[in-house]
């Protein structure tokens, strides 16, 4: 079932009375539609009131047919509906086979033999149609009314339109009103006109409620008032009338600096652009291909330039910079997220940082040039020593020989083959004795080189041979032996066989005592002191205090210096006690020398440092010098001149002026005066030993290249 509401507003006849309303109801049975379509009532809503009724083009139609269907049809301007209307007009007169299906799409009946139902509810069957194209054509040719014949969809029958109907169609096609008698331009009478009427529109008395105040409104107002009173809602705030911008700094206080501004660090300004940022930079600022590649591979944070310099031939060709917003954003982040710190930038002239030293010229004499090279050794020369007279030089090498040289000429006077790598040589400092101590393997040999004054040589021989065996033989850690025969002829005077390998020998300044170092971590027999005249050996230490590197006697007083890896211990030999322990501040001491005054000690270490101790000051170093690039191997003091030298693996010998004052209040003055180079570096070893001439400001150095050099 379907209900169709049709509401049609008919035009007012004359005025005064409101329009009449017609309602049509149809209840019709239908086959189920393929898609149910409900017409919304608004589609058939009456024409708008404001529109003058006379302008409605449907008005005439409504009058002639008197049916609502026609009105809707004319709204949609459907020819079939028109036909239906025409059919109605004609058919009503003779036989009334009115189809009652209503205004539905007739396709719904396509598959049925009937097209609807008549008023009695009987099926209206479709007329039999067997006309083909030819019949159609013949009909068109023969029938004079063919042009005014229309097929009625509701019944399927052909209908011939009457003259009036054809007229109507023509009028409608021309856009005219269907009704011939309708006057389009009748004057419009406005209901609510601008003129005041003397009579009321309605005579209804006013309602009572219009006199009584509204309760609901009162409640509402009360609520609002209460809310305002309680501060729940705020009435509209007054508009801010101050101008947006004004003279903010009108009363400027020049001293108005907030407390926090003391710590204020103003943000640094953006860096100003250089030539490379130009759109047309000089060609040298453009990156080459390799540089570009390197730039691209770098991390964006590591890049020196945040952009690639580019060149454009004209301003028109310059594109937008793609990272513009990024850069501005990063600047914003920097401004509020970057921790700031005030850094004092040192704005010093680098020349001012260099300390003012006395000029080396004023500190002469010191060795400046290499004057002699003593060649002969085939392997590295570990140790050298100068005779107290200053005429001879002894050198011991890894090739197993000890060579004696005349200093002035550079001639090798004598070569003694000892049969083992010579670790250390030491010339007896006593000028009346001509003895050289040579350490190799596990033995120490005292040689008489038989150079120089013959009297001294013979006196030395006599001194050695005048030894008498004591009555009771004492147990000694070292075997003393006096060689004879061939060895005696070669100069060997005494053999001291040690239990372990000897590394260093050193004489006491008197020339009677001789100290040997046999380094061995655990043993307490690391240092042995021999007395040559009595052929006695003593072991001064009962306990080991670490690996002994080198030892030295105090030049004037009975003190004994023992250098272990990190410390230098100073023992009092008479009291037999430790008097001082010096901390070297370095990893591994390699060599040590004692100032002829006896109050200063220098130590060379394998970690490139040279430390100067002033025994009167402290047990810590007075000065640490890091002049060498590589490990130090030897250090030496000059006996008379205020000089000291250090030799290192980097192949250089550095001579420093080291003035020690007698005044106790004045600290030693240390000035490097000369860097001497000459030794070739072989197997990562350079200079192995340095020593000064006893009287002249000359320095000798022995190196890994098998040479001994004299610098004067």
């Amino acid at each position: 079932m379907m209900v169709l509401w049709r509401v049609v507003r008919l035009p007012r006849n004359g005025g005064g009375v409101a329009g009449r309303w017609f309602f049509f109801f149809f209840f019709l049975p239908h086959p189920p539609p393929p898609s149910r379509r409900l017409r919304s009532p608004s589609q058939h809503a009456p024409a708008q009131r404001s529109r003058p009724a006379g302008l409605n083009p449907c008005a005439g139609l409504n009058k002639s047919s008197g049916g609502g269907e026609a009105a809707s049809a004319c709204e949609r301007w459907q020819p079939d509906a028109l036909a239906q209307m025409g059919w109605q007009g004609e058919m009503t007169s003779d036989c009334d086979i009115r189809n009652t299906v209503g205004n539905i799409p007739m396709e719904w009946y396509q598959d049925y033999p009937h097209v609807g139902y008549d008023l009695d509810g009987k099926k209206i069957f479709k007329p039999i149609r067997n006309k083909d194209e030819l019949d159609e054509f013949l009909d068109k040719m023969d029938n004079p009314d063919y042009w005014r014949t229309v097929r009625d969809k509701m019944t399927g029958a052909d209908v011939r339109l009457s003259d009036e109907q054809v007229d109507l169609v023509h009028r409608l096609q021309r856009g005219q009103f269907g009704d011939i008698n309708f006057k389009e331009y009748e004057p419009y009478i406005d209901f609510f006109s601008s003129e005041t009427m003397i009579h009321p529109v309605t005579n209804r008395p006013q309602d009572k409620r219009s006199f009584i105040p509204s309760l609901i409104e009162k409640q509402k107002v009360g609520k609002l008032v209460h809310a305002i009173k309680m501060g729940w809602i705020k009435p509209r705030k007054p508009r801010d009338t101050t101008p947006q911008y004004y003279d903010l700094w009108a009363q400027e206080d020049p001293n108005a600096i907030l407390g926090r501004h003391k710590m204020h660090v103003p943000a640094p300004k953006m860096r100003l652009p250089g030539h490379e940022e130009s759109y047309n930079p000089p060609p040298e600022y453009l990156l080459s291909e390799e540089e570009k590649l390197a730039w691209e591979q770098q991390d964006p944070e590591d890049r020196k330039l945040s952009f690639l310099p580019q060149r454009f031939s004209c301003l028109r060709a310059v594109p937008a910079f793609s990272r513009f917003i990024h850069e501005r954003f990063e600047r914003c982040l920097d401004l509020y997220l970057c921790p700031r710190q005030r850094k004092m930038r040192v704005n010093v002239n680098p020349e001012d940082l260099i300390p003012k030293m006395p000029k080396p010229k004023d500190l002469q004499p010191f060795p400046t040039t290499q004057s002699l090279v003593y060649r002969g050794h085939t392997s590295l020369v570990r140790s050298i020593s100068v005779s107290p007279t200053g005429q001879w030089l002894v050198s011991g090498s890894d090739d197993g020989t000890v060579r004696f040289w005349e200093i002035g000429t550079g001639r090798c006077m004598k070569t003694v083959d000892v049969g083992g790598a010579v670790k250390s040589v030491a010339w007896n400092p006593n000028p009346s004795i001509c003895l050289v101590a040579v350490a190799f393997n596990e033995s120490v040999v005292l040689l008489n080189p038989a150079l120089g004054d013959r009297l001294v040589v013979s006196a030395t021989d006599q001194l050695v041979s005048s030894y008498e065996e004591p009555e009771e033989a004492r147990e000694q850690p070292v075997q003393w032996a006096a060689p004879a025969g061939k060895e005696h002829d070669a100069g060997h005077r005494l053999h001291l066989a040690h239990p372990k390998a000897v590394r260093q020998v050193t004489w006491h300044s008197k020339g009677d005592y001789l100290a040997c170092v046999t380094p061995d971590g655990g043993s307490h027999q690391q240092v042995l002191i021999h007395q040559v005249s009595k052929r006695r050996t003593q072991n001064p230490f009962r306990r080991s205090k670490g690996l002994v590197q080198c030892v030295s006697f105090h030049p004037t007083r009975p003190f004994f210096f023992v250098a272990t890896q990190r410390h230098v211990r100073v023992y009092n030999l008479i009291k037999q006690e430790l008097s001082k322990k010096l901390q070297a501040n370095c990893k591994w001491i390699s060599s040590m020398a004692v100032h002829p005054g006896g109050d200063n000690v220098i130590c060379g270490s394998y970690d490139c440092r040279l430390t100067w101790f002033d025994l009167d000051l402290a047990t810590k170093p007075y000065k640490v010098l890091r002049h060498h690039k590589k490990a130090l191997r030897g250090v030496a003091y000059h006996k008379h001149y205020p000089l000291f030298a250090s030799g290192s693996d980097d192949g250089s010998v550095i001579v420093c002026h080291g003035m020690v004052y007698n005044d106790l209040l004045q600290n030693p003055l240390i000035v490097p005066v000369k860097v001497l180079k000459g030794h070739a570096i072989t197997h990562d070893l350079g200079v192995l030993d340095v020593t000064f001439h006893p009287s002249q400001p000359w320095v000798f150095s022995s190196g890994a290249d098998g040479t001994v050099r004299l610098f004067t």
Partner: protein
């Protein structure tokens, strides 16, 4: 001993600093609000001197704020406003949820808002402080004013930024305080001297922005909020100093001139005024309508202790500056449509020129192409169809280079279709030892008043000379070779003769000692030895300084070498062309 034991981290630097999270908790703000507050109030983290002490023994990376700063933030009225806003949002959401439209309207009417005036006054107690910090504000506003109105930020912000930047440009034009301009690949840098402070800003080229996704626009918007407030106040004050009306108004005379025919078509009435202002082709109205005052002659007070020379130097400088300000006076420019109009109009007007452009290009044009009195026509295309005889057709770079050079450069290098000379940065001030590009040397020579020698002739001469030199060298080489050969021959002969005697005495040569060289060497060695005796700390510093110096030298050398290679390559090409011809 006695007394209580002092606990660690309860005094000293550990109590002066506060971490960000603690600060946030202390202020009871969300992170976003805290950030906004920091941006507005200019609070930034500090790097403590002893980070480990401040961090209570830990070495974790943390940012620290000064406790004083945070305390200072605590009684900031804006914090209250932030809270109010939070509440407002909550209420609004509730009202929406309940569909109470009247209360929504009421709430919206009472939307809490805050002003930043007091913050600006506090951050910049004096006007000069504000000017000193204007760089970032300018760059940011210029960037925002170029944004499209597509929702990256409020339209009002964009409009405000545009208005403020136009006001700023008008001020610069009127006060003629622009000093330097630089066309970089990022944008155009301008540097002005405003009340004795140099202000530099960067303006992007006029293109639509490709908005990146990894940028937080809220942060930028907060900054812009602060900057627009600052910028507005600064503008107001600056206009006051020049006796100009603020907000700016066009001079009534120029207003009549600018009355265009198609004004209504061009823009709405409200917008066309700003557009006319931004055209920069007219002068501004003054509060007191006095005729343009001549700049008051600066009185000279003889100050004791200041030399006459210094005074003179100052005077000369003043004179130079005045001349620079009047660089383009009496010149009439016309801008073709492909050149960046705003930048050029701004720059030219800053130096006293008259500028115009095609009527259809932009509002505010004052004369036509056909004007006979136009002296310079700025074009950025290879050629122009119709050329007038009595004017120069130059590329835009001429204007910028002339400004940076403080003089009108010869126009020949900047004609249409000519290969432009490099555009140099005016911000680079070379110290001795730095690399100076040859173009800069040439400009400096021009500034000194030396006349540029006709280059081509010179080059040709040079080439000829070089050729001659080459020939000479070749000849010399030949001679040398001949000599060597001769000497070799004699030696061989001698050898052949003296084969018998292996011992030979050759006459010794006099060693000539170069005294100067010796002295230098001695000095160098002394220095080396003294350096060895430096303390560790000083040595470190010294090494660092020397390293930096060496690096600059290396870079300069590299640039010079590159230039040389480039010049040689280009010369070779030229020669090739010549030979082909």
């Amino acid at each position: 001993m006695g007394g209580l034991q002092k606990k660690k981290y309860e005094s000293g630097s550990a109590t002066n600093y506060i971490t960000r999270n603690k600060a946030r908790k202390k202020l009871q703000l969300s992170l976003a609000d805290f950030r906004r507050l920091c941006i507005l109030k200019g609070i930034y983290p500090h790097e403590p001197k002893h980070k480990k002490k401040v961090n209570k023994g830990s070495t974790a990376p943390r940012t620290f704020y000064l406790l004083k700063d945070i305390r200072f933030l605590m009684h900031e009225p804006i914090v209250g406003k932030f809270r109010e806003y939070k509440i407002f949002v909550r209420k609004l959401r509730k009202a929406y949820g309940k569909a109470e439209w009247t209360s929504v309207g009421r709430l919206k009417e009472n939307k809490p808002s805050y002003k930043l005036d007091h913050v600006i006054k506090e951050r910049y107690p004096s006007f000069v402080d504000a000017l000193r910090d204007l760089d970032d504000a300018l760059s940011m506003c210029f960037l925002f004013s170029t944004f499209a109105r597509t929702g990256k930020c409020h339209v009002q912000t964009i409009q405000l930024c545009r208005r403020l930047t136009v006001e700023w440009m008008n001020y610069i034009v009127t006060s003629r305080s622009l000093r330097k301009v630089f066309l970089s690949i990022k944008g155009i840098y301008y540097q002005a001297e405003v009340l004795g402070q140099t202000v530099t800003w960067l303006v992007p080229y006029q293109f639509a922005h490709d908005h990146p996704t990894d940028v937080d626009y809220r942060v930028m918007a907060t900054f812009t909020e602060m900057y627009t407030t600052l910028f507005g106040f600064v503008n107001f004050r600056l206009y006051q100093t020049l006796n100009l009306v603020y907000p700016p108004k066009l001079d009534c005379r120029s207003e009549v001139d600018l009355k265009g025919e198609f004004e209504e078509d061009y823009a709405m009435d409200s917008e066309s005024y700003l557009e006319k202002l931004s055209a920069l082709s007219a002068s501004l109205a003054r509060v007191l309508n006095t005729a343009e005052e001549e700049e008051a002659q600066i009185d000279q007070f003889p100050v004791e202790g200041v030399d006459l020379e210094q005074m003179e130097a100052r005077e000369r400088e003043q004179k130079d500056q005045d001349a620079h300000k009047r660089l383009f006076e009496d010149l009439k420019f016309f801008l073709n449509r492909e050149v960046p109009r705003e930048s050029l109009a701004f720059v030219l007007r800053c130096f006293g020129a008259q500028v115009s452009w095609d009527k259809s290009h932009c509002i505010g044009s004052t004369y036509d192409v056909t004007d006979e009195t136009i002296t310079h026509h700025i074009v950025d295309r290879p050629s122009v169809d119709k050329q007038y005889i009595n004017r120069y057709y130059v590329q835009p770079q001429w204007v910028y280079d002339s400004i940076n050079c403080k003089m009108l450069l010869p126009v020949e290098d900047y004609f249409l279709g000519v290969n432009l000379p490099p555009h140099l940065s005016p911000f680079v001030e070379e110290k001795d030892g730095d690399y100076v590009p040859p173009e800069k040397l040439k400009l400096m020579a021009l500034q000194r008043g030396e006349k540029p020698v006709a280059e081509q002739e010179e080059e040709e001469e040079e080439e000829e000379e070089e050729e001659e030199d080459d020939e000479e060298e070749e000849e010399e080489m030949d001679e040398e070779e001949m000599k060597e050969e001769e000497s070799l021959k004699t030696i061989e002969k001698q050898r052949a003769q003296n084969k018998v005697s292996s011992v030979k005495v050759t006459p010794g040569k006099m060693k000539t000692e170069n005294k100067v060289r010796m002295e230098q060497e001695e000095k160098a060695e002394e220095k080396r030895l003294a350096i060895m005796m430096m303390k560790k700390k000083e040595k470190y510093l010294y090494d660092k300084i020397m390293f930096g110096k060496k690096r600059t030298v290396r870079e300069a050398n590299k640039l010079a070498a590159k230039r040389k290679a480039h010049d040689e390559a280009s010369k070779g090409e030229k020669r090739k062309k010549k030979t082909k011809q």
